[in-house]
Amino acid sequence: MATNGSDLGVLLQLCEKELESSMLPAAVFSNDEVFAAEMKNIFGRNWVFLGHVSEIPNTGDYVLRRIGLDPVIVVRDDSGEIIVMSNYCRHRGTELCQSDQGNAETFTCPYHGWIYKKNGDWLSAPHVSQAYKELDPKQWGLAKVPHVGVHQGMIFANVSPDAKPLLEELGGAAWFLDALFGLHPDGMRVMGPPDRWRVQTDWKSGAEQFGGDNYHVESAHISLDDIGILQSAREMYKINAQYAVGNGHIFTGHNFVKWFGADWDMWGYPKDLVDKFDLTVLDQAQRDMLASETPVVGTIFPNMSYLRFPGSPDPGVQPFATYTSIRQWQPVAPGVMELWSWQFTWNAASDEYSEQCYVAGQNAFSASGMFEQDDTVVWEGVAKLARSVFPGGDIALNYQLGFEGMSENPIDPHWKGPGVSRLSGIGEQNQRSFYQRWLREMQAS
């Protein structure tokens, strides 16, 4: 919570003033007070992505994930419900779960042997009838995250007791997720555990870029055009739509047919897979969107993004496959994040196609990804600038692409989906929308 006169309060006031002119002070990308406030105001109050239901299909299956900096066990309990709970024993705070994933009937603390049921309820302890005659088990279970929600198989949780329902908070983003993940009744599943690696930048750098930064592709990723993995990168800006959905959720679309040709509609999925999709579950606006500026990347506030794009690790030799990746920009410290990246496939797709999607996806966006490598280095500067004496963290960064006559960034008058759509890659309305939501959360008491 910021109070007037505190350093954080002053900085947030500067953010508010600068955002009115589509600027942002660099300091927000590495600042101890900002980071501490984000852990409470952003990650302690919003629906945070934790994983996918296909990662914990069976009773007792669990994965160890994070909400902000805090470890949580995400477990499938006996009733089939997904429980999200603290990893710290209630006796002396020992971490119960020391592995990334597994299956447990109970969770036993190695320190004094307290035992919890798989849903976190206190169960027992050594010599319990002599040791804990008066202990009320209801008071000593693992701290549970009060709100857990699932949409299109994606698990979200909110640690705030007064959280609004997930669907309400997703708003128009749910409409996009439906158009992306709801195309087949069997849905999608993850392929393997997330790829994870540490990047020397702020979590917001990834979140804002993956919500609609079309402008960087022909500069940061031009090497892929040089070697024929990406075609016509410099033409891409002509075929984009930028969707500011509302509430800081942001998406962008590419018209693949205009960009690459008629064969590339529906993200370039093979016809035999598209034939299995059931588009009758979508509304007309969703169907129109898929037939024109198909959504390619997007960010669900605060720190979950997705990407769907066709690629081949070796065009002409290996076939093209359209990969779907979910990314999470995990905050680690001011100016440091971890990039977590999952590859997904349609349950209706063949094993062969799924493997091609996995390899194509990892070849492009992963720790070794030929696109992603360059993002990880161009992001590094802002975290250092934020802490500089010269020119100083208060220096304004430019978010003015498409703002008030700066660029040709027209609103699409025919858009029937949620929020605002602009038909050009030359714009930063999406990033501005993200930071307006961020600021609102940071200023809330």
């Binding site: 994933q101 393997g192 040089d226 070697i227 690790p313 290996q318 996995y358 992963s366 990880t376």
Partner: protein, 175 residues
């Protein structure tokens, strides 16, 4: 030429050839002689770097089957090298300064006549750009090395990293 080798009877001559080959490979990469390194790869070269997770003992393989940080063929490796010299490979231009230490070389056996299965460890020291901060990439390789008339060539590599969450910004260097 085919070699009859069993793990118990690896001749010093073969061991020296294999160890020299791996050391040469590392030196070429440290020296940025990437196309010379590429010539050491067999036409059917494959690389697999599986993803590792933390698991309790007895709960399954830490290296998750079917998961990959990287999965390359000779063709996709060529694409990576072409990218490095495109003039726009920002992650590796300027190139990382690396020092690869290859050790613990063991000839495990002969997969097929003339194809040796070899294990080695790698510690890769890496610095990038104008700052002196460094990262370390460590892991154990299981390679298939083929003996040909023209010398040894690398047929397949599986790299088992000592990391779950990588501590380096990207895998822009060859491991």
């Amino acid at each position: 030429m085919s070699l009859q080798i069993s793990p118990m009877e690896t001749s010093a001559d073969i061991y020296v050839q294999v160890a020299q080959f791996l050391a040469l490979e590392a030196a070429l990469l440290d020296d940025n002689r990437v196309w010379d390194w590429y010539k050491l790869l067999a036409d059917d070269y494959q690389l697999d770097v599986p993803i590792r997770i933390t698991r309790k003992r007895g709960e399954g393989d830490e290296f998750v089957a079917g998961s990959h940080h990287m999965k390359d063929t000779k063709g996709s490796t060529e694409k990576r090298i072409l990218r490095l010299f495109s003039g726009h490979a920002w992650a590796e231009d300027p190139p990382s300064r690396t020092c690869r230490v290859v050790g613990s070389v063991v000839i495990l056996g002969e997969r097929l006549p003339g194809e040796l299965e070899v294990s080695s460890s790698l510690i890769l020291y890496r610095e990038r750009g104008v700052t002196p901060t460094h990262t370390i990439i460590a892991g154990k390789r299981t390679d298939v090395i083929r003996v040909t008339e023209n010398g040894l060539e690398l047929v397949a590599r599986t790299m088992h990293l000592a990391h779950t969450i990588l501590n380096t910004s990207n895998l822009g260097v060859f491991i």
